[in-house]
Each structure stands twice: as structure tokens, then as C-alpha cells.
Symmetry: D2
Subunit: 356 residues, 4 copies
């Protein structure tokens, strides 16, 4: 059940993390690595942490260099993956880490991304609840045997996992969601922009894409509609904080009037009791809730979730922590790939983070 | 117009910051410094950055050691300042950096703090809008000549400054506010707790006091009621992020239906156009908004504010950045003290941050 | 070839990291976990990142609770492991992550640690060169079949790996070494001390144990003597910098007069050409040297090394990066354990770091 | 005694810090601000922390735009300031924050910088000891009335202040110095380079300019020769660590044989006993030395110094902390400017840092 895999955009953060995880996957044979501006150089110049591949030379990104593999991982800017993917063999499993094939609604694509919609692919979030489900089976079924997989956005994964149990169980209202995220800088990629300099980041917190403009908004709404919501509206604000990795998503929703705190907790417990990578944190001895931290998820494919009812405010508050490059990108991709290939879903992935 | 000042709790972060600012105040003569467990040691052991006071020996905290000064600054745990303050001369100006005298409602005190309510003092937020005001004059008037001043909580200052223009102008609804904050660690004080260790903090984000339990909640509600709101409810979630100082508060409210984006911006512009320390950031050439960063406020008494309407979500989103120890604590205290003493409000305070 | 393993001190950073790595080791069956003050609580309260063991309850640390395993890992304060180890079955493989059994010289023990010397055990640094070797074989031989292993100090590992090729090859002088290290905070453990608070660490660098007092000094000298030095003296200064993990060790030695830069590079190349976990970084296209960063080693068992001759200063300068908790502690321990058990030396360990 | 001042390179970090300090100087009237690529934009876009100047528009950098001021501060890349300065009125006081006029030896310039040597100016380190001095008076005398001042390099200031008392007193040997520095990222400026991205910096330490190539080397040697050394050689290694500001310089020298620890301490005490901005930290009650931290110097013009003898290694170890942008750049410049103008040396400068 061994498979060969090529990675496009290998010198970027998403491509590099895909390689790190593939190096730990017992069935993966890493083939061609490609890059755009960095083609011709050794991978070790860009990812000195990937010792096992340090001497590999990057090829130019094209359908030709990527051909001939069982699996192709695309870590490309949005807009670029659609064109390449169209030229790859239909039997090749293509994992798109970018945004091109996530949205089902061409109108939402046009509004948030602009340009032509590349069409949607099976969506690589195995834990996505469908309306009426208490545990996620339909999305997993959609991924088995898939040859094209759209890997979710990192913020989307965090917010969806935080809120969907309440949507699916009908205990929170989808009409006035608010999410504010603390984000590590690797989510912004390697682009050289002044606000991404270390001097600007260290000791500071800064928001971006405030006010309903972030491209992950329609994708969150789409997911929660799959989970059973009717009209969804979400106020979504990411903030960069001084860490390299991690997303801590605080997402709140109005409690459906008359719902007990026990019913709320039961919804989250039911949704994630059997999930290998999504863990509702426990009530500690003494009665306090244990809350997620991003450090506890570093390098792992785990999402840590906690939920509480704020009776005074009439809101359910959820906090979800993930590693944006693992569960938020490359780990979620491998998990979906395992399903596509008929391998055990957790193969080659760890639930244990690197901490402190 | 020179005044003598004693600082209780001088070895803590709030007390230390008060001293740093007093050292830069042209009229302050620094007198007795007191501490609890650290009494008997030199200030330089606890605050090596306060070079000018390094050799000062800390006295025990008591009404006796604090007596005989024109001004006393109390940087004490809540519950401790009420008792001390009651023993100080009524003519002495007492600035309480702690919570004991902030809340006017004894019931809210009992619910969030427990124990007996020490009673409320004039509230040290000069920029606090009162109902019907477009610029803050009533609160300033309340501070002129005051001899007891309750300095606001740091998170309270950030959220109040972010939201109050919209409340006072009637363009946002007070009934379903949501605030999520990125907080530097100095806000948690010097207490030795495992989750405050550098190893746990570095590379991580972690929430605390989630779900309507944080003690700053009733104080925010109280302020917004002063600004003209009827019933206020706020979902409030602080998160610790890896920086020593700073608060970045993202606070949202439902837009009053039918309100234009221009009317929203006009409300914030009117409120802060003449404020020396609260600045609405501009629209940049090209049309993008400039957003606050905490680094830009480091060491200064400035609050940076920005506001935008998210039409899709039906919410106004505000982001406010402050230095929790300056505008959020000791700087706000000195600003109020200047008013109490009849000095220029900005004397000895800077609006310019230390950055990068 | 499966083995059972108990971990003492499981709630500490070293014990936790041993568990993280053991969870990824294909032959390890994790048995009893013990703690001192934290006995009785669940591991998940202390290490929320170790999801697979979150519900495990910690036992008290004693010879009885640790008995009956093939392997025991001791993550205890120095002084404690000697007593426990003496009571464990002689056939049990005991890995001491602490200092008790590292030094062969009782006088050095008395001078730097005080108290009775527990005696030395086979030293768990497989890559340690012995006099006359160009590649490390003698130390590996000493570990095969060992039932007691003293795991090196983290700083010691970094400095030894940086300097030993030059000592063994006779191209640097051992008489006036200088090492200055940038250290992450996890090396200081979980002890609650003021200077380890996040507020003190963030945005700051601070030295400790300056002036020849650090306990790792005699251990470095011992290693370099094994590598062929006569009298060794080293000026050694660690500095805490704001990162959770990692050591960047800058270690310099006087160049033996008349030695060419090529001969220096050849010594380091020969020493590490075949090492799975110690990598001399390359000369980049264009001629610049690639230098180690600690981030590139995070979570991996890799040491990255670079060396250059400063002709003007007459010194060889080496820089070595490791993850203090992996190659510097628990990873080095597992590597040695693999040798002791006759397993492949790299089994269950990765050379690829988690970055960015 | 009021003076007008123009700042060239105002959108960079050095220029911005000069402006921050000038805003706090009671005699400074800030005139023209210039930039290169950023000319035409408002200062607030680049330095949102400088609230008082946020609306100032940047002019192009030229002798014409800078003309007509009493003082001109040049925060330009090396090579650029020489040309501009030559066109400015001889009576204007010109402070060059760059390197062009620091070195007296044209050969050293050619070797480390290349190109033509612009010639040397009076050197802006008032505390620089001259041979035979125990306290610095000659350098101060050289600055009184000066109209051209070369502001020292930041690393140079830290290392010089650490080592010069021992050189001047003849208790350390200048022949085999070793300095390793932990550096904040602002020292690297605002240039967009991959290794300066936050994602690369956070959680990592990385060296640069290793092996005798850093341009600050000849400047350190020059200073220590002024202090009385004959031939100086120094091995100098800076390392970037995750903080925005600060230099922690660990600098060691061989102890002159037969020198007592008391004589060493006496040399440092004598040198800095009366210095307003250079403080030898004390021996704490109990006998331990207090060591510098960079956080304690943040935003201040203070250098904190400590020294100890390592008898075992035969070396004196010094640690010096400064804020690279203040004492290391703009603060040192203003201190020298005060001397040049005949103002009190400390006017408008603070010795108290912003901490935590």
C-alpha cells in the first residue's frame, strides 16, 4: 500500500510541513519536489530542519515534473493549483493545500477571491459533521477513494471544529457568530512584507483582515451549513501574536433559549468522544474546565476543544487550539489521504504535541 | 505645585510602573516605598530597570509608613486597599490601582469578588463618555479635586474605549457585545503559578477566565451604562499571548439597523478628535484602515483605536491597543492625578510608544 | 524486542519529553508513571500535549512502583536518582536523566555538586569521540548491553559535539576554551522562580551561573579529555533567551598554530560524515557557510554543527544547535537505550525538526 | 539653548528612535524629516508609535532638504552619510548614526567595509576611557563643541563598556578577547530578508557574521586601543534571539596573572562609579552578584555591567546589557549632542528602563 508522492511548492511552509509529515508516514515514498523561484536550489537551504531531504534539488513546478506519482500535494498560491491540477492524471490523488477547490458556491468565490471559480472538490475535513449526525461519518465516506481533495483553510478548521457540535445538535444559533483568533506567523507564509518582520512581531499583537473581508469566512459558513445551519453569519477577526505556529480560536454563538449547560456539553462530548484527533478537554478535579493552549498541539494533528455556557451573556463560548500547519494544513491533508487510500486514518500521524 | 508621593506595593508590576512614570513627572517627589513580603530589601533587587531608585529600601505596608505624603498610590491585591485607604488622611489623594473601589453596585461586587464592598470612588478614566456627551467632560469634572480615585482595570479601559463612542452615539446595540483580548503576561502580576512560567508561555496562546467569570465584566458594563446604554451584556474572553505587555482588544457589537458606515466612523471621530491619549487611527492613502498594534503603545499612555462596519455580519468591530501597565494602570492613574491636582492633564506622560 | 518502561518524574519537562518520544518508539510499552508532589493526579493535567496518556494516573516515586519493568527512566532532581537506582534490579536498564552518575571524578562532583558521589555509569553520548578516533565507535561499544546509563547534560552535549572533532584531531588547543550559550527556558525546569516567569523572560536575555560555577563545566572537561585533550579549561556562560526550547552553543578554541582552515574543516567532516544525528552543515552555493538555528532542531534528535577559522583572532569558532529536551536529554537517552538493547540506534527517533 | 533638528532616514528604526528621544528632549525642535523610498508618505505609516509626529510628511533625503537646521541626524546606510555630510554647513552639528566616520584607520575601513574611507569624526561614546584614565574625561572633552560626531556601533558600545575598565587598569589581557552577543532583531534594520521574518525568528536563535567578518570588530579594537591596549584581537560572534530590542554581550578576557578578584572589581567600580548611564550592578545581600538583563534597559540610555573572575578558567567574564537603539544608537547620539551643545549631558534622557 506504499505510495509515491510529489510536493509542489516544497520550499514554502505548507509544502515543508507536508514533507515533514510524509517523512514520518510508513507508506510514503517521497518523489519530486518542486518550487517556483527556488527551483534549482537544494531543499536544505530553505528547510534546514528537513535533514533527510536536505540534498534534494527542487524542480520547476509543472504538470510534467509532477507527473508519474500516485499522490501530488499542491502547496501553491490560490489561483495556481487549479491550472496545474487540471493537467494531472485523473487517477492521481491530488491534495490541494490552497483555496482553489474549497468553496462550492461560485458566487462566494467571486466575492472573496475574484476571478473564475475552479470548482469544488471533496472537502478534506473528516470530522465535519453533516446535518443530523452526532458523529462524523458522511464526510469520511466522501473522502474514501477520492482522487481530488480540497484541504481546508487553517482558521476554518479551528472555527468549524469549535462550533459545529452546537450547530448539529441545535443548541446554538448560527445567526450571529463571533470568532476572534490568535494566530502564529507561519500562517502568513514566507512572503517578505514589513509587518511580518520579527522586529514588528516580537512583543506585539496585530489584527488583520478585520471587518468581514477574510477569505476564510465563506468557507466557515459553508461548513456550518453542512452541519445543519440555515443562514450563517459570522464576525471573524484574526490577530497575529508572537508565536511561529498555532491558532487559538475563541468562537461564540448565542445559546438557543432554554438549553441547559448539560445539553451543551453533551453535544460536544458526543461529537468528539470517538475522534482520534479532536479532543474535548475534561473537567478537572475540583470542577474547573481545562482550556486549550496552542503549545499543547504543536507538531501534532490534534485539535483541543473546550466549551462553556456564559449564562449572563446568553452565549456559548468555545475555544479551539490547533497547529495551523498540521491539523490546519498538512496533517489534515494526510489524514484525508489515508482515507482516500483506504489506509488507517491515523497512519503516520501523531496526536501528541511537542511541548513545552 | 510639587507633590510628595508614596507607593504601596512597590515591588509589584503595577507599583513599579507607577514609579517609572513618577520618575518622569516634573512635579513628583518620590517618598516612601512599601512592600509586603519584600519589605527590607532594596527596590533594585525587584526592579533593576528603575536605576534612579535602585538603592531605596522597601518599608512594610501600613497606614503609618504611608502617612505624611500628598499622594499615596496603592498597588495592592484586591481586598487590601480598602482597609489601608480608610486609615489614610482624608486630604491625601489616594490612587487605588486595585479593584476595591471601582464598582458602584454592591451586588456586582459580591457576585464577582465576594466579601464586603468597600464603596466606590471617583473613577479614573478621564475619557469616559457620559450619556449624551460626544466628548468626555463630565468624567474629567468628577476627577478635579478628587482625593480618592479608583483606577480602572486594564482590560476595562481597552474595551470601554473601543466601544463607548458607539454606545454614546446610539449606533451600536449594547445587548450582545463580544470582546476577545490578546493579553501580555504582566497583567497577571508576579505571582508564581505554573501557567505563568516562560516555558509555558513562549510559543503558546492560552485563554483564562472564560465564560463570564472575569471580574472586569461588571466594570465594563458599568462604564457603558454611564455612556448611555441600558442593559449591557458582554461575552468577554481574555487570552494570554507571548508578550510581556500590551492588550489588543477586539470588541464587537451589533450595528443599530439602518446606521451607515459613515455615521459609525463619525461617532468615533467625534469622541476622540481632541483626546490627547486616545487616537482613532486614520484611513491610509489607498483607502485601507490602519489598525492598532500593541507594540505602538508600549510604554506610552496612548490607546489606539480603529473601527469598521462588517455589513455581512451586521456588526461593528473595534480594535483597541493599550499598554496594560500604562494607560491600563499607572499612566491612567497619573493622568487622573494631574486632573485631581489641577495640573495639565498630560503632564509627565508621553503619547509616544517605544517601538520596535 | 518489545520492552516495558517506567518513567519517574513524569510530570516534569524531562520526564514528559521521554514519554513523548517513547510514544513514538515502536518497541516501547509504557508502564508506570511516577511523580513526587503530583502523585495521584492525571498526567493530562501536567502535560496536556501527551494526549495518548492524558488519563494515566501518576504513582508515587519509589523503587516499588518502578519495579517490574525492563527499562526505568529517571527524571529526578540530582541527588534523588542515586538512591532509587541502587534499589532497582541490576538487570533493569536504568537511564538517569539527572546528573548523579555522569562524573567519573569524585573530586569534581564534590566541588560542583557537593555531597557523596554516587559513582559513574556508562555515559550516554554515542557520538563521543575517544582519543585517536575519527569516528565514534568506542563509546557506542560501551553502551551496548549496558544496564545503567548516565544521560549527558544538555549544555554538555552541545559544547562537546561542537568542539570534540578539533580536540580529537589535534587542531585546536584545549587550554583556553570559551563557550557562551543561548538557552531556552525549558532547560530550567518547572520550578517556580521569579526570573523564570514569562513577564521577566519575554523580550529579555539574561545570563546565569556566570564565572565558572555551572555544574556542566566538569562534565565538558571530562568529555574533551576522553576525546584526547590533556588539561582542559573552559569559560562557560549560559544565557536564557526568550524561547521555550533549544540551545545555540557558540564555542571557541585557539587554533593550533600552523593549522590550515582545510584541515580544520576536514576534522569536523570526518567526525560527523556518518553520524545519523550530528550534521555538519554545508558550504552553500556562493561560498557562504550555512549556520545552525535552534528552530531547525526542534523536536528532533539532531545536532547541527558549523565551524570556521577566524584567522585574525587565531580561533576556531563552532556553533552547535540542539533541542535541549531531545538530543540534550530524552532523545539522547533513547538513542543510548537502543544501543543498550541491541536495537537499531535510530529506532523511533527522528532527525527532522518541527519548523518554523 | 533650543535647537532645531532634522532627521534623515526617519522611516528606519534608528531614525525613528532618534525622533522618539528628541520628542522627549526639552530643547529640541523637530524640523525636516527625510526618507528615501518612503518620501512622500506620512511618518505615522512607518512609525505608528510616534503619535506626536504621525502626520508629518517625509521629504526626500538631500543636502537641500536637510539644510537650515542646527542639528542633523543621519540614519542612513553606510556609504550614504559621507556624501551628504560633506554638503552640510560646517557649523551644523551632524550626528552620523551610521558607520562612515567611526574608524580612524583607513586600512581597517577598506578591509571590513570596502571602498573609500570618509575619514573619522569625534567619536560619540562619552564614557570611552583613554589610556591612563580611571574615569572618562578625555572623550567628553573631545565632544564639547564638536560639529561632526560619529555615533558608535551598537555592539561596539556594549563590548567596549564591558571590557574597557580592565584594559585601562591593566588587569586583563587584550590579546585573546572573546565576545558572544545575544541580539534583538531591530539591530538588523527593516530590510526584508527571509531570516528576519517573524516565523523564522520566533522560538529560535541564530548566529550571523561568524568568524571574524563582522564590521564592528575593528571598531572594538580601536576603542580598546584608545583605552590603553596594545595589540587587540577579539573573536566576536553575534546571535539573533527572539526579542525586538536589546544586546546582552558576554565578553571575556584572560586575567593578567597575579591579579586579585578585588583588584578586578575595583577597576570596574572606579570606571563607572560616577557615570550617569553606565552602572556596575551590585553584590546582592547574601553575596551573589546581580546580573544584567536586556529588559531592564529597554527604552533607556543605560548600560548595565557586571564582572566576575573565573579563577578556574583564568578569565574575567563581563556581561553588558543595553538597548541597541538607545544607548547603542540614538540615546548615545543625544548624550553626545548634549555635550557638543554644552547642555547637561543627561538632558532629555532617562536611565530608567521600561520593564517588564
Amino acid at each position: 500500500m506504499s505510495f509515491s508522492v510529489a510536493v509542489a511548492g516544497a520550499s514554502g511552509y505548507a509544502g515543508g510541513e507536508a514533507l515533514r509529515l510524509l517523512l514520518g508516514h510508513p507508506e510514503a515514498r517521497i518523489g519530486t519536489l518542486t518550487a517556483h523561484a527556488n527551483a534549482g536550489s537544494a531543499l536544505g537551504e530553505h528547510h534546514p530542519h528537513l535533514r533527510a531531504l536536505a540534498d534534494r534539488v527542487l524542480q520547476p513546478t509543472s504538470a510534467e515534473t509532477l507527473a508519474g506519482h500516485d499522490v501530488v500535494v499542491l502547496g501553491l498560491p490560490h489561483g495556481a493549483s487549479g491550472e496545474i491540477a487540471a493537467q494531472l492524471d485523473p487517477g492521481t490523488i491530488v491534495l490541494d493545500l490552497g483555496a482553489d477547490h474549497r468553496l462550492t458556491d461560485a458566487g462566494a468565490w467571486a466575492q472573496f477571491y475574484g476571478g473564475d471559480h475552479a470548482g469544488s472538490w471533496p472537502y478534506g475535513l473528516p470530522e465535519l459533521l453533516h446535518a443530523g449526525e452526532t458523529t462524523a461519518t458522511a464526510q469520511r465516506a466522501a473522502l474514501v477513494g477520492a482522487t481530488r481533495i480540497a484541504v481546508p483553510g487553517c482558521n476554518v478548521t479551528a472555527v468549524t471544529l469549535g462550533l459545529q457540535p452546537g450547530i448539529a445538535a441545535g443548541v446554538i444559533e448560527p445567526g450571529d457568530l463571533v470568532a476572534v483568533l490568535a494566530n502564529g506567523y507561519s500562517g502568513a507564509g514566507k512572503t517578505l512584507k514589513p509587518h511580518l518582520l520579527a522586529s514588528e512581531a516580537l512583543g506585539s499583537a496585530q489584527p488583520y483582515a478585520v471587518g468581514g473581508t477574510h477569505r476564510h469566512i465563506p468557507e466557515i459558513e459553508q461548513n456550518l451549513q453542512v452541519a445543519g445551519a440555515g443562514a450563517v453569519t459570522i464576525s471573524f477577526t484574526p490577530t497575529l501574536v508572537p508565536m511561529a505556529r498555532g491558532i487559538l480560536a475563541t468562537a461564540t454563538a448565542r445559546l438557543v433559549p432554554g438549553t441547559s449547560a448539560a445539553a451543551v456539553r453533551a453535544a460536544w462530548e458526543a461529537a468528539y468522544a470517538d475522534e482520534p484527533f479532536v479532543h474535548l478537554l475534561p473537567v478537572l478535579p475540583g470542577g474547573a474546565l481545562q482550556w486549550p493552549t496552542t503549545a499543547a498541539t504543536l507538531g501534532s494533528n490534534t485539535a483541543l476543544v473546550q466549551v462553556v455556557v456564559d449564562e449572563r451573556a446568553g452565549r456559548v463560548v468555545t475555544v479551539t487550539a490547533i497547529d495551523n500547519l498540521v491539523k490546519g494544513t498538512a496533517g489534515g491533508a494526510l489524514q484525508s489521504l489515508n482515507l482516500a487510500l483506504g489506509l488507517p486514518e491515523t497512519l503516520g500521524l501523531t496526536m501528541n504535541g511537542v511541548s513545552p
